[in-house]
Symmetry: C2
Amino acid sequence: MTAALRAEVLARFPGARADDDALARARTDRSGTPGSADPLAVVRAGSVDEVRAVLAWAHEQRVPVVPRGAGTGLAGGAVADGALVLDVSGMRRIVHVDPVEEVAVVEPGVLTADLDAAAAEHGLMYAPDPASAAISTIGGNIATNAGGMRCVKHGVTRDAVLGLEVVLADGRLLRTGRATAKGVVGYDLTALLVGSEGTLGVVVGATLRLRPRPHVGGTVLATYPDVETAARACSRVGAARLRPSLLELIDAATLAAVADHTGTTALASAGAAVVAQTDGADAPTAAAELTRIVEVLRDGADTLEQDDDPARADELLTARRLALPAVEARGHALIEDICVPRARLAEAVRGIERIAAETGVPIYTFAHAGDGNLHPIVSWPRDAGASGAQRPAAVDDAAGRIFELAVALGGTLSGEHGVGTLKRAYLGLELDADALAVQRAVKAALDPRGILNPGKAI
Amino acid sequence: MTAALRAEVLARFPGARADDDALARARTDRSGTPGSADPLAVVRAGSVDEVRAVLAWAHEQRVPVVPRGAGTGLAGGAVADGALVLDVSGMRRIVHVDPVEEVAVVEPGVLTADLDAAAAEHGLMYAPDPASAAISTIGGNIATNAGGMRCVKHGVTRDAVLGLEVVLADGRLLRTGRATAKGVVGYDLTALLVGSEGTLGVVVGATLRLRPRPHVGGTVLATYPDVETAARACSRVGAARLRPSLLELIDAATLAAVADHTGTTALASAGAAVVAQTDGADAPTAAAELTRIVEVLRDGADTLEQDDDPARADELLTARRLALPAVEARGHALIEDICVPRARLAEAVRGIERIAAETGVPIYTFAHAGDGNLHPIVSWPRDAGASGAQRPAAVDDAAGRIFELAVALGGTLSGEHGVGTLKRAYLGLELDADALAVQRAVKAALDPRGILNPGKAI
């Protein structure tokens, strides 16, 4: 059956491949979660018409389809599980950037950082900046409603998407949204599709809002004796109604890992660190806001370093940027993504430390503190198995407890990575039966045969 | 049949009324569009449980229900047409304002201006500011995804809604969204419901995002010989990457009406006027941005007045604030709401002038220029009939041509008022058959019996 179907796909679609290499690559994503079976095949689509043809055929044949961009997702959303993989990463044209309307029209395979660079030529920026911006695609960012560090001030992907071109499960082409700054005609299908993780349609084009590119003010890095003091400092920034363009918190375990990784000792013994940056319509404004943030962060700090030179703005961010590489140098990493009310940040970090102690699994936490969005990285040794398939049970136990903690603190399972396959078993913690029923009714309305990314997101 | 049903409603629900006064008031809304028949009855609900009971009964009996707040809608969205009117304007508690998380939890009948005032006590603001803020409710604002003047910088209602409590057509209570700054679990039903004009559910509670209340910088009012020069000045503000907190354009016809209405002659003969205001994290920043906007607006201006005193910030806005009252003093007014790409603003104003000339109907236009969102006010004499029922055919003809113009310029039928009943016949101009089919599939998924606000929005 699979062999016959596979042969049909290869014969029918010019961009189709089913060699071992293509199948192995498409079987998993950056989460490391292995699919239960090789994909049926991988079709690299080069045009909207090719995407439509693949979906029309798959709908007709009731073949499950997994849309895929760069495969950098962290929740298993692109894991194939025997499905036909529809790879749109080759559709990577920036169709145009309109500096007057402050919009860009792009294909889904455009890398996020490339779009931001194109916007910068016009004094604009594409605001969402997931850590993966250099390797992840706009289509994938839309599928997961990606966030990033500067979204604390400038918004997440949903805030940047004005309209979409989406191929529906049966191959119809749906245009949503608009090219204007505002619009309220019809239901907001654009927002419904953003974050739907490929379960409602395949994004083949997007009209994106750009924003004036602000001037960077400067950066401040402060260390504190403990996470409570650091979190209180972050809370005071908000209470003073200041708006840093990023506000990050790094816990002691992560600081120690970064110190190991870089061979520096400066932050090795700190209880926690906070990094903030400002931006503004002009450099003096941004610099003035940094000064006020520095005043607020100084209270309770053990050390505080400040750099007002925009050219060196990222130097004080090094510890934050190296957090994940440093943790990954120690072993396998399961990257989690809970979000809690801002005031519960310290409780969340302490709760995660408790979970690490109880399960015996090392967990490293850094957070977009301004959003209450924590990334606890659950770690296990490489010799426990080369791939995520051999993830020890204690790691999943720890992850499950982290989800329970998030919900107990009034938060959510995922701030910006999505549910994918990894968190699906925990959806019931956050969504009650009626909410799940409505989600599934919407899914059935758009994809009645359930062929789009089955087993993901909802 | 109606009499028996009405008697049942009156017997069953304590908040039910069917006296002539209650029925007449609920038959129309601020648009003046009369319903085709008196409402079945009006139930003033005082609690979530009452809303659930009404909808469960109506679903069972297949009785159409029109949700209603303050009845200030401009598109006929609350017109009753024989339906049961479910009035939630009495549910008006601000449940709490949390200054740390910067959120408010409110009931749907809270007046928008009251929420903003409550936020101000904590140095926060509720950003969306429809012109009706003093008389319209949050529930109605959510139903239409209301905008306003300051949304050019601070976002529309959708951007301010973090989560909703919604009673579904069958009486189930759906909780959407979250209390955290970010979250991507499940489809974004919150955004789907915002702007759905009461056709998918009845909003009974909302968690709203507040923002730091900015300092006002000052205001500038400039006049120009013609609308093209004025629109170019507005475009230059955007091109300079400046971000006024409001940027409004007023056409010559409106300026003449305001001059008549107020007995002042200052602006009577101007070709067009532009008003801008700035705000910022502190007063000097906001004042500095005003200075730069003044420089940009000065080029081509006939006159320019500037006031840097925040206490008098609204004085130069008088002409804009009085625009609608001045036009309404001349006759009946059909308030339209198209949105076009910013660069097409002058073309839109000229196109509307042409439509006025061709149809012989006076049309007055003012615009949220920074968003490309125009409000053409189509006017007809009071002696043509006391109510909108006798609206001359030429008025509807003019409105239809305005919609065609908007779409021809790459724009939309409605920037912030919604579709309601008034624009429903024109939906096909903007949404193709596939888009309409998807909208209706979503509607059927949430309201399979079609009882919620039938004949509206989609």
